[in-house]
Symmetry: C2
Subunit: 343 residues, 2 copies
Amino acid sequence: MPASDAAPTLDDVARLADVSTATVSRCLNDPGKLTQTTREKVQAAIAELGYTPNFAARSMAAKRTFTIGAIIPTMENAIFARGLQAFQEELDRRGYTLLVSSTAYRADAEEKQIRNLVARGADGLLVIGHDRDPAIYDYLRQQRVPVLVTWSYDETAPAPSIGFDNRAAMRQFAQNVLASGHRRISMISSMSEQNDRARMRIEGVRDAMSAHGLDPSTLALIEVPYTFDDGAGAFLKLMQQDPKPSIVLCGSDVLAVGAIRGARQLGMRVPQDISITGFDDIELAQVTHPELTTVHVPHHEMGRLAAQELVAMIEDKREGISQRLDTTIIERASVAPCRSPTA
Amino acid sequence: MPASDAAPTLDDVARLADVSTATVSRCLNDPGKLTQTTREKVQAAIAELGYTPNFAARSMAAKRTFTIGAIIPTMENAIFARGLQAFQEELDRRGYTLLVSSTAYRADAEEKQIRNLVARGADGLLVIGHDRDPAIYDYLRQQRVPVLVTWSYDETAPAPSIGFDNRAAMRQFAQNVLASGHRRISMISSMSEQNDRARMRIEGVRDAMSAHGLDPSTLALIEVPYTFDDGAGAFLKLMQQDPKPSIVLCGSDVLAVGAIRGARQLGMRVPQDISITGFDDIELAQVTHPELTTVHVPHHEMGRLAAQELVAMIEDKREGISQRLDTTIIERASVAPCRSPTA
DNA sequence: TTGTAGGCGTTATCAG
DNA sequence: CTGATAACGCCTACAA
């Protein structure tokens, strides 16, 4: 068979199969509408030519792309990987394909990515957390592209969300810690500006402190970006304070693992000399030594449900319905009860 | 301003600015060709309408998308993240945007993704390693889509590559290990089928054994997928063999970290009771305990150079030029010299 | 069940 | 420097 000079088109297939382009199109999108004979004829032609539909043309004509965009803060660590994987699998099952882009936690980058994804015809968008310029939500509404928020749950927010209550999760976790005797509490968080997850987790710790009669404003808090190194650096800084903390609550497992490394650098034993906790419960939490006491997030379920909901919003043309998932506390080996609770 | 009912088009902008659509198009793609007056008029209209060009229409007319696709085996761990980040940054600088998709190390998934990316009009493709059905290369050639291979270097392969010599890197590493007295060598590798990096690393170890007068067929080798758990499981299995190995060479850092966890489960100390090594030198290698002795891969440079070369292939319409990068051995704390070299 | 034909939003060629 | 206008490849009423 002579290799044609360019990519074959619907026309080529139609000619080879001796049918109209409409028939070929139907064979692709709604095969049930064809006689078995013609269907087979067309399929044979498609196979012979190695035809693949041109995406741009298709989405232009149909005004549908069957692709969904997801904008995440980073792919540098595994935090979002697991959930995204589940999201992707569910999407696949429903005939959608996923486009991911990451923002390095920068709000302006996010806006750019959102516009880009919309211009590319994404049928729907998944974003992380609620915090962003309200104008973005207006834009999306005007463009009629549905958005779903994940990793956060907030009924009062402008967009529907499938996630968990970061504040409550962290509050409960911190209460446990306080109950085990710790009083000199400190925290390493991701940058909380434009990041409701980080902010809510901090608030959760403060809530717990208040509940235990501690002044929440005394919380020793350091905000850093999101790498191991950031966690280690913050830990070192925290250990320079005078009454050293007895526990360091970290806003994420990645930061916590960094903190553990920091402790090792200082020759401190975890948890004997200092307790350290994480958040997210990614795989890493179990390979680090000691294994991390952390808050488990239902990554997989969150991703799957988000996919289902977003597809429903698109196909049924309806508003999204928020859903709140539960987190659980996972006690492993990085926390010890505090023996000398006084500062 | 009344919110229009749908996304504004070139036509809307043209009408508002009182020029032709051609002029608006030029204003977007080659502003230098316009009078300052008209340019400003058009830009004002664009701003007022909040106009964003429709991607499908644009790529259909221009037969160019300024997007590049990358297909990687997994985003579940950080192995490809760093290089991809650099790839993306360089692409950005040159006005291209990146589309990533992952295959979970499955060859059939890869083929599907490649076709998908081509159908979406990717101007070029980045793939990992050389191993794949030759028909794919034919398809890509026929579609006139340039491909560049990375993470592997092989001049004789059907596609140009910017990477390193996995076999030589591992050979040299293993020779070091042998020189330090180890004889009972074992290895945990990723599945080597359809994965030249894994295969070449195994061969590298065998090369080194031969060079030291050892029978390469005696290498205790276990192939597993790519997660921490896989590494841990393989380690456990390896330790059941009778003369226990004195060192476990892992095909990746992730596997090595899993192996370290396996050792801990067995109450073995690393490196006193057993040495363990990695490959890739991802961040993880420095947060694990003990820190991992491993092979450093120039992730960042590889990504950057790959972007440059791929863009050059696209814009200059020329064949790709392969480039071989160097790896280096990083000695950290997970290896101890062997005191009882005899089996 | 199948074919005809118009249109989707841009770019690019060619005049003016 | 600017304006018509013909593609680009496919979908989808509408008609037969």
